[in-house]
Subunit: 252 residues, 2 copies
Amino acid sequence: MRITAGTVADGIREQLFTVGDIPGVLWTPAAGSGPRPLVLIGHGGGQHKKGWEVVSRAFPYVTACGFAVAAIDAPGTGDRPEHPEIRRLVALIDERKAAGEPFGPALPALYETVAAELIPNWQTTLDALQKLDSVGDSQPVGYYGLSAAGESGIRLVAAEPRITAAVLGLMACDWLLDTAARITIPVEYLLQWDDEGNPRDSVMKLFDALGSAEKTLHANPGGHFRIPPFEIDSSIRFFARHLGGAGVPSSS
Amino acid sequence: MRITAGTVADGIREQLFTVGDIPGVLWTPAAGSGPRPLVLIGHGGGQHKKGWEVVSRAFPYVTACGFAVAAIDAPGTGDRPEHPEIRRLVALIDERKAAGEPFGPALPALYETVAAELIPNWQTTLDALQKLDSVGDSQPVGYYGLSAAGESGIRLVAAEPRITAAVLGLMACDWLLDTAARITIPVEYLLQWDDEGNPRDSVMKLFDALGSAEKTLHANPGGHFRIPPFEIDSSIRFFARHLGGAGVPSSS
């Protein structure tokens, strides 16, 4: 791991890093040292490691819970080079969307292509992060990812025993039912009631498939991107409960 | 209103009261005085005002949020006299249940009979409570009720503008869809994924019908009575957000 930049603002230390060719970012409390629970945050489709939906979770996780939080660019996004096959599949899907046609096998093919790199990327990154004094390998690890990062999250959580609690959701992916059934850790699972691209029945089918004894579905009105802010607080409580930490958001 | 008994334990003052022939109980913080937000808690079918599902919510609402909390016995329960018509309908429903037959019109008839007294009872009780120094009429009011108390809760919340936030759920009552549509206050709505008596599709239909801009569905695995303890904490946050109050449960 190579730290390429470091800044401190509002009590949060931000460190940009690379692990091989994987670009990532680590946020930790500016004050204090030593190992702490880690939350990995996946970004949505077409976004990147410092997109708003990552940062809006990462900052309160650091300040309210004292967690370390890390994000990486998925293949073909952010600071990573263009990925011709991903670009081809995205263009194909966009074309079909514009024509009002079903995506067909292009959608699972896109996710499969991303996951083939992203899942090992996350695991390599986790190996490297756990060697840092500010993270360590003795503390629990959580994962947060919705939409495209929910899709890869299901795969990652099923494959990676170091992750012991996850917030997932906003995706209808029938091809993941068997993978979801292998997950047994506590899951908070989000659904947007009026999500145009992800019919609620399909999203619930994936929730139903999760093998976890503790799984809780939170459904709210509105489209794909309209998750209410109180769900960020809820995820703080969820991770505080399962990973440890104070878990008192500054807003309450 | 007549206070018939009063005790203090664990920082909570408990006062039994009657308003006319309505028996009730009021819990307030033992320390402190003056007006405060009030939460009304309805009890489930066959239970009473001091049943476990009432007390397990009431006590943390008082100690974590500083709220006043009140409960009353529904007609035919607790300290109220036998109610022949309710007894007849319950017996009829129990008979059909034992025979594995559908309840037919007996179920809505039972709820209708209870509501005809219970809704005005709640309103009379609220009038009386708001005259107390420890409650007052300047503070917001919430309602918590699941199952049978969710059914009457939908009716009460739709009828009573003083109630500005409610936790409801655990009921499949197709006859309440129009009533639910008239509700516009924030609602936290609970569903048990494997609730034998309340099929999830019907429970969700009622959630879908709610006219509220802020409504949030929490679904958890297990049968009717297996609501996970973290949902009590969640209801504390919900009421703290909408009624005011600290909202920091002692368990976190």
